[in-house]
């Protein structure tokens, strides 16, 4: 049981050590700072593309939206056009709410059963998973966007603005970035939930813990470099800009911690297309959400629809003609 999270935890630790000692001990800066990041990016792009194309190449034989509200029906009945859209525009809005607001997760309830004289089954609104998921995804997004300042020169105004907003609390020096803290807390929450919620723990695989530990380690090394070891930012930017401009350089004075950080980010990227993290692409292609409920109004075509054997009326009448005549039913052939 414990194996399910101990193995991935040990794995992430190992990844860290490999890069750290590789750089500090064996001087493999080129490998961990240049080769691996390029390879990982390539693996990510190719893998992502391959997976999405794989989904797209599968047919959509039927139009099967899950309707989560009143459909378009008689003119005097008010339609819920977001949760049960019948037009492309409605579907678009529904998808926006799913992708950006996690609409379906927002509905989440928690069931409880009390064995007593009432034997009540109750359902209460369970918002924490939604809050945790929103916090995690949005803080991660902000962190990624903030990192653009390492890959652009000059840094675009919007990235600067975002970074400024992120540090708006102005605590400490260098000032505290909200997104980093939220990300850490959110990952911790998701991790603890996975370990201690009996149902979630039961369904979890090592493959579910691994990305959580990995992200935790990435965030941890990042925070460490910013607040404690004070990594040489100029050197880091030299390296990252070198990567972007395809003129890789290895700066002096940047230590193993940074390479470990980069290595784990690379692993995460390469891991995405081979894992459930592909949900970021899959959500766009989910037929229960991205199709309009206009089934009876517009015919959907199944590309592999094939003819089937049908028991025809003629065969049926042949089987039952006499009985039908006796019962006074009209028949097509009299004898």
């Amino acid at each position: 049981m414990n194996q399910k999270y101990l193995v991935p935890l040990a794995g992430v630790f190992l990844l860290f050590l490999v890069a750290y000692t590789g750089v500090e001990g064996a001087g493999l800066q080129w490998l961990f700072g240049v080769v691996v990041p390029y390879a990982a990016l390539l693996a990510f792009l190719a893998g992502f593309f391959y997976r999405v194309m794989g989904w797209a190449s599968s047919a959509v034989p039927f139009r099967i939206p899950t309707t989560c509200g009143q459909a378009k029906s008689l003119p005097w009945i008010k339609q819920n056009w977001v949760d049960d859209p019948d037009t492309a525009g409605g579907v678009f809005v529904r998808m926006l709410t799913e992708i950006f607001l996690f609409r379906s997760l927002f509905r989440n309830t928690r069931a409880a059963f009390h064995r007593n004289e009432k034997n009540r089954l109750s359902y209460s609104w369970e918002i924490f998973l939604w809050v945790g998921a929103m916090a995690f995804h949005y803080s991660f997004l902000v962190v990624i966007l903030r990192h653009l300042r390492f890959f652009t020169s000059p840094v675009p105004g919007c990235v600067k603005f975002l970074t400024k907003m992120d540090g708006i609390l102005q605590i400490g020096l260098p000032e505290l970035r909200i997104s980093g803290v939220v990300l850490l807390l959110a990952v911790f929450f998701l991790l603890l939930r996975r370990i201690f919620d009996a149902k979630v723990s039961y369904i979890s695989q090592a493959a579910d813990y691994f990305p959580l530990f990995l992200i935790l380690a990435i965030a941890g090394t990042g925070i460490c470099m910013r607040y404690f070891t004070r990594v040489d930012i100029i050197g880091v930017k030299e390296l990252t800009m070198g990567l972007v401009t395809f003129h890789p350089v290895i700066p002096k004075g940047v230590g193993g911690l940074f390479y470990a950080h980069v290595f784990m980010v690379s692993i995460l990227f390469a891991y995405i297309p081979n894992s459930k993290l592909m949900h970021m692409g899959g959500i766009f292609l989910s037929p229960t959400r991205n199709m309009a409920n206009n089934n009876r109004a517009v015919r959907h075509i199944n590309p592999w629809n094939y003819p089937v054997k049908v028991h025809t009326y003629e065969e049926y009448e042949d089987d039952f003609r006499e009985k039908m005549i006796e019962a006074g039913l009209p028949v097509d052939k009299k004898e």
Partner: protein, 549 residues
């Protein structure tokens, strides 16, 4: 069913906290009361199904073909190409657990493999092993499978599939809550298709399918017997209303072909709903000259083929259009049913259309164009009747239903596959003075299944059914205790067949009714006598007192 498990024993078993351990290494135990008997070979033969033989799920040997693993492997491969749903849903579940406690079977049994996510993982674990690059690589190194949560397809795994894919009613409640819309019903559909490649259907599905193919309906009612049943209804209605409401059958050139699930011909309380249809059609004929015909060839609205495979579903469904064409009607009207409407609404036009020989449906009485049905050309009777009431075309005496304190059970398919939520409520409010909703988390798109859908309404799996009905029954019990509700309304034939048993088990004071039964009671037929009884031959409100005076 004397050895049936008692409600208290069933409740004692429920524990929603799975024990620690690895689900993959907990072998399946096929337990009587939870599974349905295997398919009758003759029924499989009728539908040209493979591997026809007698077998017993409790036997060690399931008499599978030599190369059964290869058959399943190829079956999965083919379906991954044919169904984007399948492929995407195999790949993107993050095991967040949002769906875990949404399934009525999990809530009623506490069996962790009834959590929708685990039901899907039963298949997904094999998919990961056989169809993903990482899975293939990891399965060759020791311990690798464990890391990735993959496993090879063994006989035990197959048995587990069989057990749990026939413990899912394809109700789609899980899909409402999944952040990616993963629909475990769709995975169950795939799972059952795969099982059918090895001849592993259950009899409660296979035999109705064969019947429907041969005689036109699931129950195997032959044309003359059907006429006999209708005569019986006609006599009953005449006794209550004094009006002869005999239907017409197989009539060429009628305006509308009406098709309803055969459950409504067969057993109470569905029969009262059927009588409601007869009364409504008589009324429309007398008042407005609407010519409705029924058919003996297409005498089944439901489609147990859809619980077998898309091919079986298509074969049975084809009769609707064929018969409409043969009779030369303008469009088709469909009765109150759940999975029938899943098929009609989401599959029929695609499978067996285009219905270019029919007209775009218009209600000739109100002039309403049913825009939402203009391609499929089949209208739901709840839409049709709601439209008639809205335009004041029905003369109704609501008070005749005053003995009924009603609550309404949204059926899975009309709510989560059609979005038909307001129409039935509109009708209810026009035919019934006492209507009380169940708690919001148990109705509309969040409604709970009756626990017996998707072909699981058999006798031998009664424990499963009663456990699955618990969430619905608990909500009914709540309104029964709070408002004195004594009747549960539903627009689904399986509900009308399954919920009476569930109510008797959990909330015995509550009966079950279709909405057209209430219409039948309330509708004032031209030339009717003074009614003293409702369609169940129970005295109308106020009648007893009058007699006493």
């Amino acid at each position: 069913m004397a050895d049936q498990i008692k409600p208290d024993e069933l409740l004692d078993k429920i524990d929603h906290t799975p024990e620690r351990g690895d689900w993959m290494h907990t072998a399946v135990q096929i337990r009587p009361g939870m599974y349905c008997y295997s398919a009758n070979p003759a029924s499989l033969e009728t539908m040209d199904m493979p591997n026809v033989r007698k077998w017993d799920p409790l036997d060690e040997d399931w008499k599978l073909p030599e190369n059964w693993q290869e058959i399943i492997h190829n079956g999965i491969k083919e379906r991954l190409e044919r169904f984007r749903t399948f492929k995407v849903f195999m790949d993107i579940c993050v095991r967040c657990g949002a769906c875990a406690d949404k399934c009525h079977y999990f809530l009623g049994t506490g069996d962790p493999k009834n959590m929708p996510v685990l039901r899907a993982e039963l298949l997904r674990s094999v998919y990961r092993n056989d169809f993903t690059t990482v899975g293939k690589i990891l399965s060759s190194i020791p311990g690798g499978k464990k890391l990735y949560g993959s496993r090879p397809l063994t006989l035990d795994v197959l048995k587990e599939w069989w057990y749990y894919f026939f413990q899912c009613t394809e109700c789609r409640r899980c899909s409402v809550f999944c952040p990616y819309g993963i629909d475990t019903a769709e995975i169950t559909i795939m799972g059952r298709e795969l099982l059918n490649l090895l001849g592993l259907n259950i009899d409660w599905i296979a035999t109705p399918v064969a019947n429907c193919n041969n005689t036109g309906n699931h129950l195997g009612i032959q044309p003359h017997a059907l006429m006999g049943m209708m005569e019986f209804f006609t006599e009953d209605i005449e006794e209550v209303t004094g009006v002869n409401c005999a239907p017409q059958f197989n009539k060429k050139g009628a305006d509308i072909l009406f098709i309803t699930p055969s459950g409504d011909y067969f057993a109470d309380p569905g029969t009262y709903t059927c009588q409601g249809y007869l009364i409504l059609f008589k009324y429309l004929k007398e008042k407005y000259g609407l010519d409705v015909t029924w058919s003996t060839y297409a005498s089944e609205g439901g489609n147990f083929g859809s619980f077998t495979s898309f091919e079986a579903s298509k074969r049975l469904n084809a009769k609707m259009y064929l018969e409409a064409k043969r009779l030369g009607v303008k469009w088709i009207l469909g009765g109150e049913c759940g999975h029938m409407w899943r098929v009609v609404h989401q599959y029929m036009d695609t499978m067996n259309g285009p219905a270019d020989f029919l007209e775009e449906p218009v209600n000739p009485i109100t002039g309403t164009k049913f825009e939402n049905a203009k391609s499929t050309k089949m209208v739901h009777i709840i839409e049709f009747t709601a439209d008639l009431i809205k335009h004041g075309k029905l003369e109704l005496d609501k008070s005749r239903n005053d003995n009924v304190k009603l609550t309404f059970h949204d059926s899975c398919n009309p709510s989560r596959s059609m979005g038909m939520l307001e129409e039935p409520r509109y009708i209810i409010n026009n035919v019934c003075n006492n209507f009380y909703e169940m708690p919001p988390n148990t109705i509309r798109e969040q409604t709970f299944c009756c626990g017996s859908g998707a072909g699981l309404n058999a006798g031998e799996n009664i424990e499963l059914r009663m456990a699955g009905a618990l969430p619905r029954a608990t909500a009914v019990k709540y309104v029964h205790e709070k408002f004195g509700v004594n009747r549960l309304g539903a627009i689904c034939a399986i509900d009308r067949a399954a919920l009476p048993t569930a109510m008797e088990y959990w909330v015995p004071e509550v009966g079950v009714t279709g909405l057209h039964e209430l219409i039948g009671n309330a509708l004032i037929l031209p030339g009717e006598k003074k009614r003293t009884e409702d369609l169940r031959f129970e005295p109308l409100p106020g009648v007893e007192e009058e007699d006493d005076e």
